[in-house]
Subunit: 410 residues, 2 copies
Amino acid sequence: MGLIVQKFGGSSVADADKLRNVARIITETYKRGHNVVVVLSAQGDTTDDLIEKAKEINPHASRREMDMLLSTGEQISCALCAMAIEVLGCPVISLTGWQAGVQSNTGYGNARIKRIDTERILAELDKRSIVIVTGFQGINRYGDITTLGRGGSDTSAVALAAVLHADLCQIYTDVDGVFTADPRLVPEAHKLEEITFDEMLELATLGAQVLHNRSVEMAKRYNVDLEVLSSFSGRPGTKVKEVVKIMEKSHVSSIAKDKNVARLALVDLADEPGIAFRIFSLLSGKKINVDLILQSIGRGDKKDISFTVAKSDLEDAERVLEENRDYIGFDRIDVNDNIAKVSIVGAGMMNNPGVAASMFEALFNAGINIHMISTSEIKVSVLVDADEADRAVRVVHRKFFDEIAGQNSL
Amino acid sequence: MGLIVQKFGGSSVADADKLRNVARIITETYKRGHNVVVVLSAQGDTTDDLIEKAKEINPHASRREMDMLLSTGEQISCALCAMAIEVLGCPVISLTGWQAGVQSNTGYGNARIKRIDTERILAELDKRSIVIVTGFQGINRYGDITTLGRGGSDTSAVALAAVLHADLCQIYTDVDGVFTADPRLVPEAHKLEEITFDEMLELATLGAQVLHNRSVEMAKRYNVDLEVLSSFSGRPGTKVKEVVKIMEKSHVSSIAKDKNVARLALVDLADEPGIAFRIFSLLSGKKINVDLILQSIGRGDKKDISFTVAKSDLEDAERVLEENRDYIGFDRIDVNDNIAKVSIVGAGMMNNPGVAASMFEALFNAGINIHMISTSEIKVSVLVDADEADRAVRVVHRKFFDEIAGQNSL
C-alpha cells in the first residue's frame, strides 16, 4: 500500500460523464489499497468563461479579485468529483487550497507555493478518505486566496506529492503520454515509456504542452516520480524520472515544435562591448523572455544581433527597443513572426556530436532553410519558416526514429 | 458618518449591467462618508444551476459537498462586484464567509451563525475600504464551508449589521418595499413607509417573500433597523423596526397570500385525550411544520382534526400518518391541495376585535367560502379555494384600504 497523487486536467473533468470516469479511476486506485490524494483543475472552459465575465466588468481588475473569482472553478470541479465518488461508495472529502494548507507567497495571479501544512490532509487520509484538493490555488499570509498561474494544477499536484512523500504522482491528461513527436503531425510517432526530468523540461519549454515546466522543475528538485497518462485510454503512460532505466535506442527522445515565436534582428549595431548587455537588460526589465540569440561576426565596425521572443511579447519588445534606439545605437529592427522553432531533445545527445549534424542533414535533404540554430547539452533547436515547420518535424522524426527502427530490423 | 450594511439579492446582481448598478449604489453611499459593508447573493440562477449539476452526478450528494459547491456562487458575485467598484475608483475588497469570520454550527445546508470574528472586516474598514462579504455561508469548527439555507444572505446581512453595530441594514431587492398587498395582484396597493418586526415576521411566514423570517427574527432580537428597498428604482423603501413612528391609518398593514399550502383532515378520530399530541409529535419528528390547526367539536365519540402543511411536505405527512394509522386511530385522511391562505397582518389589530369581522364580511359579500380560520394577536388567516385567492386578496384590500381612504377624503 502506498500513497498516490493523481491530477486530472480540465478536459478530464469537463462534464458529468467525464467526472464519473475520473471517479472510477480514483476509486479503483483506492480499492487496490492505496491512499489517494487527487488534484483537479477547473472544468473545461470554466476559467476562460470566468475571465470573460471579469473582462466585461473590468478589463483591468485587480489580481487579488481575479484570484478570488478564478479559484471558484476548481472548487466546483472538486465538489462535483467528490459527489461522483460518493456514488461509488468510497469515503471522500474535497478541500480548497486553504483547507489543504497550501501556503503561497502574495503574488496574486502567479503565486508560488511556500509550504503546505499537511495536517488536515493527513487527518483525512488517516480516516482512509480519498482527499480531493483544488489545484491552481493557495492562501497567502493575509488570508487571501491566490492562484498559481499557468500550469498551476500540475504544480499543486507535484508539491503535494513532494510534501506527502507520495510513491507516485500521476498527471492524467487527454494524451497517452509523451511521444517522440506530436502524433497529430507524425502518425508514426510512438509513446515513450520513460523520459528524464531534464528532457521533459526542455520539451515543456519547447512547446510540447504535456506538462508545465514549473511542475517538472519541482518534481526534479524533490525527486517526485511522475507519470503522464490519459484519463480516457486506460493505457500506461510515460514515466518521468531522474534517471531512466533503459535508454531509448535513439539518442533523441522527442521532437517538438513551437509556433509561438517571433524573431527580432537589430541591424547595424556598433561593434563595441556592452551592446548585448544593454539590449537584454532592457528586455528583461520588461519581463520579456528571450530565447535563441545569434550575434553575427562584425563586418568592419558593424554587427547584427538576432533573437526570438514569444509572439505575445513581440509588440512590447519592439516598443522598448525603439524607445532606446539612441542608447543601444542600431540602424533598424527587422521582425519576422512567420517562423517556428523545431527542436530535438534527448539526454543521450550530450556525448554524440553527430546528432545535431543528422538533424541539419535531414532538413537540408528536404530543402528546408534554417534561420537560426541553438544548442544545449540535451537539445538542438532550429528556426525555420512557419509553413515548413510541420514538414520539418516529420523529416527529422523519420531521420531519428524510422532509420533506427530500420537498422534494428536488419 | 455611520456604518451601513447593504445586501443585494440574486436578481440585483444577475449580470454585468446590474452589477454596475449595484456598484454605483454602493459607491454613492461610500462617498457620502459612510463605511459600507456589502452582502451579496449568487447571481441570478447560479445556485439553481449548481444544484442541477450536482443532481446530474449524485442526487443524494452529501450536504458537506453541496455546501462546498454552492458557496462558489456568492464568491463569484462578490469578486465581480469588487471589480465593478474598482472601475469607479473606490478602495474595495471581497471576503468569503470564512475570511469575514462568519462562524457557524456544523449543520451543512442549513447552518446557523454562531458568532462573527470581525477582526478582518474592521481592519479593512479602518483602511476605508468597502468590504464585500459573501452571503449565505460560513465556516464551521472543522474548517469546512457551510451554507445557511433559504434566506441565508438576508441572515448574513442582519448578523453582520448586529455585530458591527451598523446604523442601518438595507436589504435591496427587486421590489420597492413592503406593500399593503402584492401590487401585481392589487394595482391600488401602496408601499408602506414603516412596519414593525412582528408584522414583518407574520408577512414573511404568510408567503410575502420580501424578507426571510430568520433574518427578521434576528433583526428584532438585536434591534437592527432594516430597510427593504429596490436596487432598480432609487426610491425610498420600507423601514422595518421595533416600534413604528406613525401607525398606519388602517389597523391592517398588509394582506398576504400563500398558495404553497395543503390541508389534511383526519376524519373520525376517537374523541379522547392525547390524540392531537400523537399526530403533531409524529409530524414534528419528521420536521414537518404544521400551520393552521382546526379541531372539530366531537360528535358522539368521534371528532375530526384538520391542519395545513407546506405543499412540499404533503406526501411525507400523508405517509407518516398512514404508517401510524392504528396508533393514532382514524378512519381516513382527506386531502385538499387546491387551496390558498389569505391573511391580514397589522400591529394595530390587537385591540380591534372588529378587524377579523370586517375581513369575513368582505369575503362573504364576494361569495368566497372560508374553509378554516386562524388568528393571532397581529394577524387573521383564512383558507379559501386556490382559484378564489386572488379575488379574496382584492376584496379584502378594498375593504381595509379603499374604504378607509374614502373615509379620509370625506
